[in-house]
Symmetry: C2
């Protein structure tokens, strides 16, 4: 055995001492799910996959890693989209999976808070809240697989941000294992606390590069008595912007979702999910799904939504509209939005962008970017949809009809440049809700100022001087 081998053997023996044999995975086949990216674009390597069951075990493992100069890649549901939760291919790092730490620690209904371990599935938190007639509003496509720790580390967005904010806005307190393996108990359930620097928000969205989140206190809300969904037909993104402003003024905080869907996005869904129906007799260039949540009653909600839709049509903001009057109708309308990603996958590969720009600039951005892409890549097809109320578009680009996906994908860099340059021109973000991970770590350097990057590096060095926490991600 070489000296390195001896060191590794000793390290793994120590891991087994902490966790027991069953929770130190070194077998290559058993490691695969933890090393493989959610979209199966990348497979990393790891010295071991470690499965702690308690905060103390995580702290012990991080101290051990620090002593051996071994990097740690924290992992939740491994559903991230930017290669943030898998190790690189060096094989020098360990994956620390939090998925066994999945206990709900406390629920305080009168304080509207729930305290959970990082490995809790998002759906589990939603369900626990719901059983107490409370709402945990974070909602994502992967909610049955993703964990709260991952949601926090990536500051996940989803469909309810318009009303409730990103994961950042839903968190009051954290427990974090520092890069030195110390336990920071910041599990506060307070709406107000001005006693020093906001460490909580520094760890949120840091993608595990500053420490490992092991537990959190999250905000709960009273459950609305009714949720009403409408689907509107629109002549243009400008009409969508008008309708959004109109809906915000009329519905105030009861407006809980405003999702833009281009006609091409809807056509993809209908092609691949023939059981779903077009909500109108004909096609329109764009659609918006509008959801309101009401604390009075379903009849009040429907009456108000119908009044809003009628006025919106009379004023020319909407070309047509339907309002779901049952839960199953509402679900059918949501499916038209939710199945876009899957429909795209069935259609073939495309080049994805998770971007945000000021809401007011969306029509102009779409107009310019559509035109530039069509000029540079004649016939390319744009799948444009997203959380318009938050200024967040999933603006994806597919190959022209009849041409090869594989060849088209080779144009990725040039296409990214057109899209991201325009995002930058409009003072937007090239990663609205997915994070940077390994995937956008270099791309961001084109757009973020050197001063901002240098402040980020200064903070990274201050908190993780050995660069052992998820190295190579974000920075």
């Amino acid at each position: 055995m070489t000296e390195v081998d001896i060191m590794r053997t000793e390290f793994l023996a120590n891991c087994i001492n902490i966790l027991g044999n069953d929770f130190v995975i070194t077998d290559a086949a058993d490691q695969q799910p933890y090393l493989t990216d959610w979209r199966r674009r990348f497979v990393g390597k790891a010295l071991a996959v470690l499965l702690p069951q308690s905060t103390d075990e995580v702290a012990s493992l991080v101290r051990l890693c620090a002593a051996h100069h071994i990097a740690c890649v924290p992992q939740g549901g491994n559903t991230g989209l930017v290669l943030g939760s898998v190790p690189d291919q060096s094989g020098h790092a360990v994956v620390i999976s939090l998925k066994r730490m999945n206990r709900v620690l406390a629920i305080d209904v009168a304080n509207n808070t729930i305290t959970v371990e990082a490995g809790c599935l998002l759906a589990q938190v939603q369900d626990t809240a719901s059983a107490e007639q409370r709402l945990f509003p974070l909602s994502l496509a992967s909610e049955g697989s993703c964990t709260i720790g991952g949601n926090l580390s990536t500051n996940a967005g989803g469909t309810a941000v318009l009303r409730y904010g990103n994961t950042r806005e839903l968190c009051l307190g954290l427990e974090v294992i520092t890069a030195q393996g110390e336990i920071w108990n910041g599990l506060r359930g307070l709406r107000k606390d001005n006693t020093g620097y906001d460490l909580r928000d520094l760890f949120i969205g840091a993608e595990g590069t500053l420490g490992i989140i092991t537990a959190a206190v999250l905000k709960l809300f009273p459950q609305p008595r009714a949720q009403i969904t409408a689907f509107t037909a629109l002549e243009s993104p400008d009409a969508a912007l008008d309708l959004l402003k109109y809906s915000q003024d009329a519905l105030g905080p009861t407006l809980t979702a405003f999702e833009l869907i281009s006609d091409f996005s809807l056509q993809l869904v209908l092609r691949h999910f023939p059981q779903l129906q077009h909500p109108f007799g004909r096609s329109y260039p764009y659609y918006a799904l509008v959801e309101m949540s009401d604390h009075e009653s379903e009849s009040h909600a429907i009456a108000l939504m119908e009044q809003v839709l009628e006025q919106a049509m009379n004023d020319g903001h909407a070309a047509d509209a339907v309002c779901a009057t049952s839960i199953s109708q509402s679900k059918s309308l949501w499916k038209l939005r939710e199945h876009i990603s899957e429909a795209q996958a069935k259609e073939g590969k495309n080049i994805k962008h998770d971007i945000s720009i000021p809401v007011s600039q969306i029509p102009h951005f779409i107009q310019i970017t559509d035109a530039e892409l069509s000029a540079a890549f004649p016939g390319c097809q744009i799948v444009c949809f997203g959380h318009m109320g938050d200024g967040n578009l999933h603006y994806n680009v597919s190959a022209p009809v009849g041409s090869s996906d594989a060849e088209f994908i080779l144009q990725q860099t040039a296409i990214n440049r057109i899209v991201h340059d325009n995002v930058h021109q409009f003072k937007g973000s090239i990663s609205a809700e997915h994070g940077l991970g390994m995937l956008k770590r270099d791309e961001i350097k084109l757009y973020k100022s050197e001063l901002e990057l240098s402040m980020m590096r200064a903070i990274k060095v201050a908190l993780d001087p050995q660069n052992l926490m998820n190295p190579g991600k974000v920075l």
Copy 2:
């Protein structure tokens, strides 16, 4: 002249080069307003008071200070309550007042954002938003004097936090001058941006110790069509907690304020403002002011509020209730709450606490702390009121009737200890909305973990290695 005098003369000449003669204040009398604490408890000293008018001027001044190793104390309206915005008594620092930087830079109604310089008065931002039928919801007693830069640096709270959050939650982007005098342009108007560490929230609430905020992008909201205020009579803090939960369930996000007022607090107001009237024929132990904001109509709002109050009384949550049916009635009810601080000041001195605890723990906290204080300081009078919906109480203690305020104030340390120890027991915060400044910098060491303080110090050193940004505050 000594070498130090020569250096200072050269430094001041450079300041005059940057700002012109009129905006470098060295005259002691002219400096006084900038050196004197809002509550007139403390007067600091400064080498000069500097009044820049642009971001570039602030950056130039900070670079000059860095080159001369001169500390900078940034200042807005100087309305802070914890000695955060005045210099210490060494006379080595300069005050950099942002009050000439008071331009509204942009308002984007469709994006619901306003971009303002740091020296804008809070009331000016509210008014500018209002002129465009938008709401900037931050609302404080000092809104006519405090600036947005100060609000951001202290993460100010106020009366609308229950619905809209603290200043932190109302800010999307910042422009900051770093300790090195560089300009960080983070003036983004985005609801979603996951491209690295959350520097914005690090500067917010840092009380000027990490850099100087020179401008910000703030969130706006649609204006509600009606605001309805009710005043309720309660038998106990437990009843207040019941009523809060009940109101949240019934009103959802239209509940915009829930303020607790003890009978003694109300008596003080009525004693010193005899033009105000008791809302009920008799006294009750506690009261809650409840406000809802409605996007439908005034008649809808009144009907809903009356229904809520009736049900609350039927279910025993409230002993009595009145609902204002005009704007002037509503203002009168709010005055009962808003005049408490002034009534206290007229009554004499007292020992103030700005605390937060989990909302669910408020009744138990009040019960225990009232009892401990009465046992230790027989006859002491407790002025208990605050933003109950946020778990934030202003829990102030006055001398027993007939005894001297001056003597009672000498007990401050012992009284703080009882109150703050209980706050800590209940996992609360000893500074909910005012910050730490110089006033609570030592007190916080009793309650915050050494690990958390060490992370704060590491960040301070990383961003301000010379310790020139508002030294001696927070840390």
